[in-house]
Symmetry: C2
Subunit: 139 residues, 2 copies
Amino acid sequence: MTGPATAAPSAPSAPATPASPLSGPSGCRAREVLDLVAGKWSLAVVDTLGAGPMRFSELKRAIGGISQRMLTVTLRGLERDGILTRTVYAVMPPNVTYELTTMGRTLLEATRPVVQWSLENIAAIDAARAEFDASAEPS
Amino acid sequence: MTGPATAAPSAPSAPATPASPLSGPSGCRAREVLDLVAGKWSLAVVDTLGAGPMRFSELKRAIGGISQRMLTVTLRGLERDGILTRTVYAVMPPNVTYELTTMGRTLLEATRPVVQWSLENIAAIDAARAEFDASAEPS
DNA sequence: CTGAATCCCCTCCGATACTG
DNA sequence: CAGTATCGGAGGGGATTCAG
């Protein structure tokens, strides 16, 4: 699975359709990475952490609506992916601080347009859904 | 929505924490809209349709690996959200064409940075995961 | 060709309770 | 404060089959 692949320059009949980076074989990998952001809370954590290093409880309070479990799971995943770092200060009481890595910050930048788009189009989408439902499920 | 917004000068005790658009109350809505893109195939469909109007079978072939069911479900969802239009030509054999709406095209533009980031960071993430797994699960 | 319908597994996620 | 452990519901998503 980890094969180099994507290195098949000799494809004869391949249309190469570079139109969509998510369509081809390499698209599978991209999709996989996009799952990173697809998680229910990943984006919120990255976005919130964009303000600077933060502790567990601060994150929990800032995000709001997230359970300890999901915050922990999400943080673990992002740490594993190299998006953020987890620093434990052996003091009393325990102090664990999370901070975006360089890669995490580039991810934050990359996601800004999507987040902004979401905010800008919430109303339009609500309207579209209402209209669709009205004309499709009048029963 | 397209309003200038962010112009709430009269909030007295509001901390305003503009740090994260996904954290606050409005963030819940944004998260909701982001689910639109979170689906396993939504982005691939939008991305693929970026090349121009396409038929059902063309989409299926272009994306590859998607089942009829998921393509249908994904298309319905995106149509409901006003991201794409579904046009049926009553000919023989049936011809159904899907095309991005204006909003769909703006979404495509907004997602480009994330898609590109994914492609650029696949290797780094793989490495980070391997390293994390190696030092966390040695037993 | 396009799609709806069914079956079924599997993961995500929330609520709760317990530890250091 | 910062987690971990467990249970259980809900939904995503794949394979297959049927229909217009």
